[in-house]
């Protein structure tokens, strides 16, 4: 069992999780018909709920000897650095192609239609470092899987992936290379639907 939901792993009944969930906005049919987009920008507008989000991850990871927080562009950048700062870890941005200057390594991954690529700076992470990967949401796990591969290629140990939102139903189909996944909340549904 790879997924761990916060409510079932030590935070049962924690009112912060409800506050976080309530602060997330659902935008139907974005970026295309049929997709109920989980918009975390409203969470960022709610200072208390945003702080709870970071605090929960910080409390979890601060004693795990983590020296690297890798954040996936762009929404992973909104959560990762605050976690990194609080636990005393480096922040490593994982970016779309051609954004990082200097020498990079790249990892391709599958999209629903086509492929994309994630890049990391050579030398940012050392062999043996313990790392977490942070993103706002996990769907198929394709992006997180590419992130894990990048870190493992340079000899880092990926301890866990942390996401604010994650689907429950894709258990077993999630591509995470066997790594644990810690999720705060499930996707919201539209009120009244």
């Amino acid at each position: 069992m790879v997924e761990m939901f916060a409510a079932e792993n030590g935070l049962k009944g924690d009112p912060r999780l409800q506050a976080i969930s309530n602060a997330i906005r659902v935008v139907p049919h974005f970026p295309k018909q049929g997709i109920m987009f989980q918009d975390i920008t409203t969470l960022l507008l709610d200072h208390k709920a945003f702080k709870h989000t970071v605090d929960i991850f910080v409390d979890r990871y601060k004693d795990m000897d983590i020296s690297v927080v890798a954040g996936v562009e762009a929404r992973g950048f909104m959560f990762g650095p605050s976690i990194a700062l609080a636990i005393g870890a480096k922040f490593v941005p994982l970016r779309k192609p051609k954004k990082l200057p200097g020498e990079v390594i790249a990892e391709a991954y599958e999209l629903e239609y086509g492929r994309d690529c994630l890049e990391m700076h050579v030398g940012a992470v050392e062999a043996g470092e313990r790392a977490i990967v942070i993103d706002d949401l996990v769907a198929t796990g394709g992006t997180l899987s590419a992130a894990i591969r990048l870190l493992e290629r340079v000899g880092a140990q990926v301890v866990e992936c942390g996401c604010v939102i994650g689907l429950r139903e894709v258990k077993g189909q999630l591509r995470l290379n066997g790594k644990p996944l810690y999720i705060l909340v499930e996707p919201r549904e539209i009120d009244g639907c």
């Binding site: 906005r25 935008v27 974005f30 970026p31 987009f37 918009d39 920008t41 960022l44 507008l45 709610d46 200072h47 945003f50 702080k51 970071v54 562009e73 762009a74 929404r75 950048f77 909104m78 959560f79 650095p81 605050s82 990194a84 700062l85 005393g88 870890a89 480096k90 922040f91 490593v92 941005p93 970016r95 051609k98 954004k99 990082l100 200057p101 200097g102 700076h121 050579v122 030398g123 940012a124 050392e126 062999a127």
Partner: protein, 255 residues
């Protein structure tokens, strides 16, 4: 209208490093064998003109009731905060990126230096805490790295200012000029309210085009942009002038 001064001393002191200085020894990337990869440089080492930074002097930020005459002065106003030099040397310069002739200021190495990154955020937080700022707007994508920690520490909302078609739902957009052509920046409708006081954050100011677009977006919905804050300024590109009467605060000034 007189522009509010960031550094209220009438004699700002620039400590200018000699152009013959070697690239800083301080760590950029550790190598696996225990050595260090130094910052990239070609024939011309980076020269950092370290702008005077007043650690505790915080001139009132543009609120209607402030007057220049009320700005406090401190005995230490001409000292540079000791944290600045470590921040400056943690930034890596990559020559000829994204194209020949451009010396790219790479802040990713700053993010790898836990103390320097912490100090960077602290310097901004110390300046803006308690100033009734309710909005920190960060410009995609590197503004997303610095903005949220500042917002969290000062109790403000974080508002991402994004490239087109990234934000779901209703947005307002502002076009701005690039060297060749134009680009667009978007902000969510309803993210901010008229009358709120805001900062705009990015890693670096060059020409100021992106920052100006962000300011316009916020002002269009009635927000008061109190100040723009960047880690790095490239003064030769005159971004500060382009901001006009909007104050600009930077930690490192690089030529």
């Amino acid at each position: 209208m007189q522009r509010a001064l960031i550094f209220s001393s009438s004699n700002p002191i620039y400590s200018q490093l000699s152009t013959t200085i070697a690239p800083p020894d301080s760590a950029v990337f550790p190598k696996r064998d225990g050595g260090w990869i130094g910052p990239f440089s070609s024939n011309q080492p980076p020269v950092f003109r370290l702008r005077n930074y007043k650690r505790t002097l915080l001139p009132p930020l543009c609120s209607a009731s402030d007057s220049v005459a009320n700005q406090p002065t401190m005995a230490s106003q001409d000292e540079q905060d000791p944290r600045i030099s470590k921040i400056s040397s943690a930034i890596r310069v990559i020559p000829n990126f994204p194209k020949p002739g451009i010396m790219f200021q790479d802040i990713t190495t700053l993010l790898l230096d836990t103390k320097a990154f912490r100090d960077t955020i602290d310097l901004f937080v110390e300046r803006y805490r308690g100033k009734d700022i309710s909005v920190v707007a960060g410009i995609e994508a590197r503004g997303f790295i610095f903005g949220p920690p500042i917002a969290l520490a000062i109790g403000a909302k974080f508002v991402p200012m994004r490239k087109p078609n990234k934000l779901p739902g209703e947005v307002i957009s502002e076009e701005y000029s690039l060297e060749y052509g134009t680009d667009k920046m978007e902000m969510h409708v309803g993210a901010v309210q008229a009358g709120e006081r805001a900062l705009v954050i990015d890693d670096l100011i060059a020409t100021g085009g992106t920052l100006c677009a962000a300011i316009r977006l916020l002002e269009r919905v009635g927000v008061h942009v109190v100040e723009c804050a960047c880690v790095i300024e490239l003064p030769e590109l005159k971004g500060r002038d382009r901001l006009g009467d909007k104050p600009l605060f930077v930690l490192v000034s690089s030529t």
